[in-house]
Amino acid sequence: MKKQSIDIPNLIKEYSIFIDTSSLMRSQAQDFLMQKISPYLKIENKKLVLMKEVTDELFKIKEDKKKQQPPEKRLEAKKGYETCIKLIDQDCANHMGKSSSVNYADNFFLVKFTEERYKRKLCLITQDRKLSNDILDLNESSSSGKAKGIRVFSLHKAEGLKEYFLSEPKKTVSNSDKLINVTIKKPAHIKPLFSDNTKLIDIKQTKSLKIEASIKSKDELFDESGKNVYLIGDKIGSGAEGTVYSISNMNSKTISSRSVCKIYSKDMLDNHRLEKLQLMVKNQISSNGICWPKSLLYTSKNEPVGFIMNKAEGYSLKRSLFAHPKIFEEKLPSWDRANLVKVCLNILNAVNLLHKNNVLLGDINGGNIMVNDKCETFIVDADSFQIEGYPCPVGSPEFTAPEIQKIKFGTFLRTKDNEYFSVGTLLFMILMCGKHPYSSVDGGMVTDNIEKAQFPYPFGRVDSASRIGFDPSKPPPGPWRKIWSHIPYTSKQSFFNCFAKNERIDGLSWSKILKNYHNTLEKGADDPQSYAIIPENYKVVPQDVIDKFKNDKQEET
């Protein structure tokens, strides 16, 4: 097998290099960094990036106040910490980031890399296989290839640096470092089902389909081939556009438990909607979490009247998770916070699948997503999705990004970035039990609040420095600030960036961040109140973190 040596000078020239705690704790780290890296840094007049979160973590392990670490680990951390001090002393590293109660520095890297990846080329040195995969995934998730490229390496005894690549399932893993030995090709890029580069179709210029039929229970309908006959069953629900019925396939004589149909009200199905449905039926996105149109339904006169889709179960978010706490408790009495995070992750799975195929949901809101008591989620109203040139004709201002607040829905094509705002708002409201991110004291109408972008929740010390006009008296009274205090750092940071700084992350990044949140809850959170849907107290901050915070503050002043 041919080994590729790493061109260190070039790496230093082109990339900003970050180092993780796990690598700094390696015995060879100091020698390697001081001898192999630092000379080139001086030549290129560049510096390594040492995150405060990393040095904090090293410090914490080294001091080990809770007496949990084995002595050898404390020694490794001590040496790593000394390496950091040397690097900083010799002007080889920038010490940046935020020191605070961060437990998981790898989350932090993910957020940092997500933010910075479009600005410069990034390199991470870590021994953590999982982190390296998460970081490398960012290369895959970057929209339209704007990212400048991310590389990840580990420290290796013999070779100095060894590059990580995204693993493919079958490849073997080397036993020592659990690294992949050979350069592996990235998984073949699967082409999205739909184009993201289509001109807007003017849906105002519709032609009526002049459909005469009026469908009700017990009527018979046909699929496109005319071979399958369906019997319309009981009415399940109705909305402004149409009615949902249960349906049974006459050929198999069974009532489908998984499928239902939507029948449009008079004049609600126009030529554009029909064309879009045909496009969707032809290109199936199959996921239980998305009620994608599976087949169009026609009358015996061949008039299209509706479509078959997956059945959604449970309650709308609006009538459960976003409702008054009494209603939430009534409907989902045994839930805790892990369920809420799971709901977020399930919705994100569906959203990410749609986004990967260049489908935008458009009208994200609490009425369009259903959830059952097993945390399974279902996105309904798929016929209003934005697909290629067909815009989503409707929207919910509460979930609409400020830059498109005043534009009439259906007259423009939304961007993924627009939708990331809606996704952020949705996730916030799920974790915050229905409270809108911009509900604040002295706020007003939701839409005004969005345009003013006054996010009322505090975020560490970054806040006071970076946010002009932030008034700590604005968080709404009630349980909301307590809930906020129990949300982990990286999630809070991403919400803060989205709502206070207008910097949004994509759904894949959210999935990763919230998976970590879920893992924390599974593993056992420090504060039992962190499991409560509505906690009674603010999160208890461990004493050592408080002490450190005080010390830092004194140093600053």
Binding site: F322, S396, M432, G434, P477
Partner: protein, 226 residues
């Protein structure tokens, strides 16, 4: 004490609220069939609001009557707890004073929302009357005019959804000056009207604040189209 409890309830409920003030004519001319049907309609309305778990926690309703005097018969935030007394007819038609009181209440309620970080829809005001106001242009202080100046500006600024309903044999003359939507009630179709109103409130509760919403067709209780 009650104020603190009230604030707590405001703060703990994440739903955006729609404040709705209904000003009802209970003057002497409403005696008989009309006041009976009105009572039935109001009861039906409150029942429908309470029955739905979304509107119960988002529709914030107050009722004012104007007859012998202007009286607050249901205050905001009380809809879950109060037993509404039967409305009785008698006295004059101090509609101007009632509308002014309604505007003051809506304004106060909005302040309370703001204090508690509650988001809301634009307030609704419903005025129902069958006659000329007794505190209007015939009087030294024309409260109808004063009210109309305020309401028409609020409606124009899109800060108020106003519905004026003419009960027979009333005329549109004064109500027109308020701005907003105006419609005559067919006969004594109070129940139909309040049914429509609860459906409308439901439509708004299901929509999002700040958006347009399409109200149900009012043809069940009026002959005109909006």
């Amino acid at each position: 004490m009650s104020l603190i409890l009230e604030d707590r309830e405001l703060a703990i409920n994440p739903n955006p609220r729609v404040p709705i003030c209904i000003a009802l004519d209970t003057s002497a001319s409403m005696t008989g069939n009309k006041i009976d049907e009105l009572n039935k309609g109001v009861k039906l309305f409150l029942d429908a609001i309470l029955e739905d778990e979304v509107t119960r926690f988002s529709a914030d309703i107050a009722i004012i009557t104007f007859g012998r005097h202007v009286e607050k018969v249901l205050d905001f935030g009380d809809v879950e707890n109060i037993k509404l007394h039967q409305l009785t007819a008698g006295g004059g038609t101090p509609m101007g004073g009632a509308v002014l009181e309604a505007l003051r209440m809506l304004e106060d309620r909005k302040k309370q929302y703001k204090k508690n970080g509650v988001t809301y829809w634009q307030p609704w005001l419903i005025v129902m009357t069958d006659g000329m106001a007794t505190d209007g242009s015939m009087q030294l202080v024309d409260k109808v005019k004063e009210a109309a100046i305020k309401t028409s500006k609020l409606v124009k600024d899109k800060k108020l959804n106003l519905f004026s309903i003419i009960i027979e044999p009333g005329t549109s003359e004064e109500l027109e000056t308020f701005g907003g939507k105006l419609a005559p009630l067919d006969g004594v179709k109070f129940e139909e009207f309040f049914q429509w109103l609860s459906q409308s409130v439901s439509v708004v509760s299901e929509s999002t604040p700040g958006t347009g919403f399409k109200l149900p067709d009012p043809q069940s209780w009026t002959s005109i189209e909006w």
